[in-house]
């Protein structure tokens, strides 16, 4: 085929794609929306049940619209156990872990992406291989180490083993590696210090990756159950997952109120996601999505 012919047929193919029959588009959208809705059902169920009357959670037919909206489930649940304290504890832990990951993963990622010192390949390998050593694997000795530091039942004890994650280091390294080194060299010639280069040249260009890192490190520490369960034995330092499980085990606590706490626990993560959403999409490489 000659070039104009190719261009012509391409244009036809494109216009065919663009002017997909409206019906097909609508059907596709309806199917897709139904699929997305199916995934959301458990989240909706949790939300509806948090407003339901105590006994109705175990009805043979799920009542999707409460006859009476029991908003008091929320204050009732919070008053039955020190959930305010639990949420504050979780907040302190999660924000610290998130900050730790953002700072140290950026530093290490930058160091591994743009500096070539002897053994830097080995260092990357050493860091990546910690992926096979999650807390679930090293639980017993990590507990013994934190015990040696006398950090049992302290905030630093809960936070310390979670502070840096190898995935974050790798994510930041991959993001920084694509920034042209010429920028860094030019800044050095202009006399900028290394820390200033990092803060003013590197960080602004890897905000999408940083957002991905922020949401995942926040979610992971907000979700953390096994480690606080192991290292905390006093009520004052419990994080909300421990409080919530205990709340469910205590006799007489309505399950609807458990759902209310679950909804409250979901909000911070969804909120952070909404704030960072645009940037997260770019971090994942989804900017081209319609």
């Amino acid at each position: 085929m000659t070039t104009p012919e190719v261009a012509e047929s391409r244009r036809n193919a494109n216009s065919l794609m663009r002017h997909l029959p409206a019906l097909r588009k609508t059907v596709g959208l309806v199917l897709l929306a139904a699929l997305a809705f199916a995934f959301l059902v458990p989240i909706l169920w949790m939300t509806v049940m948090s407003f339901q009357e105590g006994g109705k959670m175990f009805n043979l037919r799920t009542e999707w619209i409460p006859a009476v909206w029991h908003f008091e489930n929320y204050p009732n649940a919070i008053s039955r156990a020190p959930f305010v304290q639990y949420f504050i504890n979780s907040g302190i832990v999660s924000v610290t872990v998130m900050a730790g990951n953002v700072v140290f993963c950026t530093l290490a990622g930058y160091g591994l992406a743009k500096f070539h010192f002897r053994g830097s390949g080995l260092v990357l390998l050493l860091i990546l291989s910690t992926l096979m050593l999650p807390l679930e694997v090293t639980l017993v000795p990590t507990f013994l180490i934190v015990h040696k530091f006398e950090w049992i039942n302290t905030y630093q004890g809960i936070v310390a083993p979670l502070l840096i994650d190898a995935f974050g280091v790798f994510l930041m390294r991959q993001s920084i590696i694509s920034i042209p080194s010429d920028y860094i060299e030019a800044a050095r010639i202009d006399g900028a210090g290394e820390l200033r280069i990092l803060l003013q040249i590197i960080v602004p260009q890897c905000l999408p990756a940083l957002s991905v890192l922020a949401i995942f490190s926040f979610r992971d520490s907000w979700d953390q159950f096994l480690w606080p369960l192991t290292v905390v034995s006093i009520d004052r330092l419990r994080t909300y997952p421990l409080g919530l499980v205990q709340f469910g085990e205590e006799y007489g606590n309505p399950a609807t109120e458990q759902m209310a706490i679950a909804v409250l626990a979901t909000l911070p993560v969804f909120l952070l996601f909404m704030i960072l959403q645009r940037s997260i999409n770019r971090g994942f490489g989804l900017s081209g999505l319609k």
Binding site: F39, M132, L133, I215
Partner: protein, 318 residues
């Protein structure tokens, strides 16, 4: 570049007596100084991992040859911990459960994650919002996931309410040993498939468009385009997703712990639960460390695969 900086050129010897530390630092070659910065940036992370990853791992290996109950001093028992594990039917069952769980969850999350990504990538307007909605399952606190699904999988719960009109009987999802593991896997897929959907979607968006245009001109249908173009190009991503999913599933703890408590019997007990129970309920730290070493070995295989992938690809994954 070196000449442009204010520092003096590096001087070999010639100085009488050691110069003050500060002066010597400034005399280090410009490039070397930059290199030192690089090391300084990496050092905190490396030290952290030495204390909280490699240290504990070494200690676990050492502990696995000892008997230790946290009260009396540990004493050497050789391979006794491993021998008693090999003879323990519960350990064997747990090990098999872990593999079944990893295999089942990984296969299903990969297939469903890819299918979802293909569905989103059809160019239907509004698909982006559907993707965001599905991704929320991955952000919901895992504890809330477990509590909600425990109710949904109740004999009178929503799952059975939906299935019954379709001709299914009432299934005792969590209390029957044949359905408990599939139920946990189902929850896992619900939780993780949308995450891998996002990774697949990023890979799909990065595929070169002209291949498809050429194939369309040649009259290849959608299915043939998928098999001959999309699938081969996606192979690295599929491999990546399989490995990451296996790593995630190998360490699963909370889902079986909260949804079934490892039951009925030991039907859903996995290695991480056994480590916690052996170590902190029975205070058999040496035995727990031996199980850790087993789990660590499993994870090492997947990690080695993953590092090979990382070495090859320049794509950013999380």
């Amino acid at each position: 570049m070196v000449e442009l900086t204010s520092s003096e050129p590096y001087q070999h010897g010639g100085l009488t007596g050691p110069p003050p530390v500060a002066r010597r630092f400034w005399q280090i070659h410009h490039r070397q100084r930059i290199r030192l910065w690089g090391i300084a940036f990496v050092l905190p992370t490396l030290m952290f991992f030495a204390v909280f990853k490699y240290g504990p791992m070494m200690w676990a290996i050492e502990l696995s040859f000892n008997s230790y109950d946290m009260v009396s001093t540990p004493y050497f028992v050789g391979l006794d911990n491993y021998r008693s594990l090999a003879a323990d039917p519960i350990f064997r069952e747990t090990l098999i459960n872990t593999f079944v769980y990893i295999a089942g969850s990984t296969i299903l999350t990969t297939v469903i994650g890819l299918s979802l990504a293909l569905a989103i990538n059809t160019g239907i307007p509004g698909a982006r919002h559907c993707m965001t909605a599905m991704f929320l399952t991955n952000l919901m606190p895992i504890i809330a996931v477990c509590l909600v699904w425990r109710f949904l999988l109740h004999p009178y719960g929503l799952v059975n309410q939906i299935l019954q009109p379709l001709g299914f009987g009432r299934i005792d999802w969590l209390t029957s040993s044949s359905t408990a593991m599939p139920a946990i896997i189902m929850v896992t897929v619900w939780r993780f498939a949308p995450y891998f959907m996002v990774i697949f979607l990023a890979a799909l968006l990065a595929l070169p468009e002209d291949y498809y245009e050429a194939a369309e001109l040649d009259g290849a249908g959608a299915i043939r385009r998928f098999i001959h173009i999309t699938l081969p190009l996606l192979m690295p991503t599929i491999f990546f997703v399989v490995v990451v999913s296996a790593l995630l599933c190998a360490r699963i703890f909370l889902m079986p712990y909260l949804i079934t408590g490892g039951g009925p019997g030991n039907a859903t007990r996995v290695l991480s639960m056994l480590i916690y129970e052996t170590g902190f309920s029975y205070l058999k730290m040496g035995q727990a460390a031996a199980i850790s070493v087993v789990l660590f070995t499993i994870m090492m295989v997947f990690t080695a695969l993953q590092i090979r992938l990382f070495a090859r690809s320049e794509q950013v994954y999380m």
